[in-house]
Point group: C2
Chain length 223, copies 2
């Protein structure tokens, strides 16, 4: 029997933003907020906010607004943040090092357990008090350690080999910063991050804006 709670992916993708904004409200000592006020801050419509939060159960009371602390705790629960997540970083290049030093991880109870790399010059060095190990020992490391999330920051050519090891050890999640999408059907939950996608969204919007400006200028000349 399949009791899957079918929360649309789009709703799940919006949850982290709710979390960030609720954190901000708490820092600002705001204790009650209406969906309309939250809408202005966060940029989703009030009805979308009500609908999103209803996917997970009853929140807030009509005409009164949301209790920020309560909503924050509940969103935190939805995001699985009451549990500590053990992670490892595979690939200690620029991105891997930036993530190892990323202070927000700790706040989100994400504990960096180990870092792996193939480069002999990096092996043995510590980042944020975590030593870089030889990636050749990843297989045996995962035999002995339960890891929730593997952060992959290796070049394309190394992804397949790493993937096989992670599948073998039934790692739960992959946070993938490598240039190739990882998709393991029915298997490990994966989030693929592509920096350049957001850059290209930006160039696309700039291009559109420029097109509009040029069109306007040409029309102004004709008029």
């Amino acid at each position: 029997m399949d009791n899957k709670i079918d929360i649309p992916m789009a709703v799940i993708k919006r949850m982290p933003k709710y979390f960030r904004y609720l954190e901000d409200l708490l820092r600002g000592n705001i204790s009650i907020i209406s969906s309309r006020e939250l809408s202005v801050k966060i940029g989703f419509t009030s009805s979308q906010i009500r609908q999103d939060l209803n996917s997970f159960g009853e929140f807030g009371s009509r005409g009164y607004g949301y209790n920020v602390q309560e909503l924050y705790e509940q969103v935190k629960g939805i995001l699985g943040l009451y549990k500590e997540h053990k992670v490892i970083i595979i690939g200690a290049g620029n991105i891997g090092q930036a993530l190892a030093n990323y202070s927000r991880l700790e706040k989100l109870r994400v504990r960096l357990e180990a870092i792996f790399d193939a480069n002999p010059k990096l092996i043995g060095i510590s980042i944020n008090d975590v030593e870089i190990r030889d990636v050749g020992t990843l297989d045996s490391y995962l035999s002995e350690n339960m890891i929730d999330i593997c952060i992959i920051c290796v070049p394309c050519s190394q992804v397949e080999g790493i993937k096989d090891i992670l599948v073998k050890h039934k790692v739960k999640g992959i946070w993938n910063f490598s240039p190739v999408d990882i998709d393991i059907p029915g298997g490990i939950i994966t989030e693929n991050v592509h920096f350049s996608d957001s850059l290209l969204t930006l160039t696309c919007l700039l291009n559109e804006q420029q097109g509009r400006q040029e069109q306007k200028e040409s029309e102004d000349r004709i008029a």
Copy 2:
């Protein structure tokens, strides 16, 4: 008169993924692809693909499929990649350095013109042949140089000051890696990047999966 080409943001956000997959197809020497085949690869439905691409004009011919090279060139145009974009990085910490070394920028014709930081230990050092300058000189630099995109990688406390300078000099776009969202209504087009959002999507999905498994186990025990 407003001649805005109103392409939904969701479509624009999908364009970079089309671009990446079309690049892959070209590398694999695939010259024709149906929307159904593209759908399997990219993970959007065929009808979504047809609808997305139609937002920008006529692509492909019915029953024949898309000419990959042609589609690639057109998506490249939509993304504004026939134009070189001049960028600067503000903040040369881990993320700033990772981006300065990010080889994909060059492939996308994004030219790194300068890097700025406040740390005297970093000023004068070069990353990827670009020297780190004193952020105190940013204002005068922007008076003399036309920059398309500013990449912001500074801590929260410095964002406001930087933002004021960018608004003053009418920079076109901001690619924001700082922890706070930047939103300049009617002003500079901004893409806010939050690493942790994708991590939280992952922990949310892991949490959901665990919830389902626990429910199943408890039902199995009862059955």
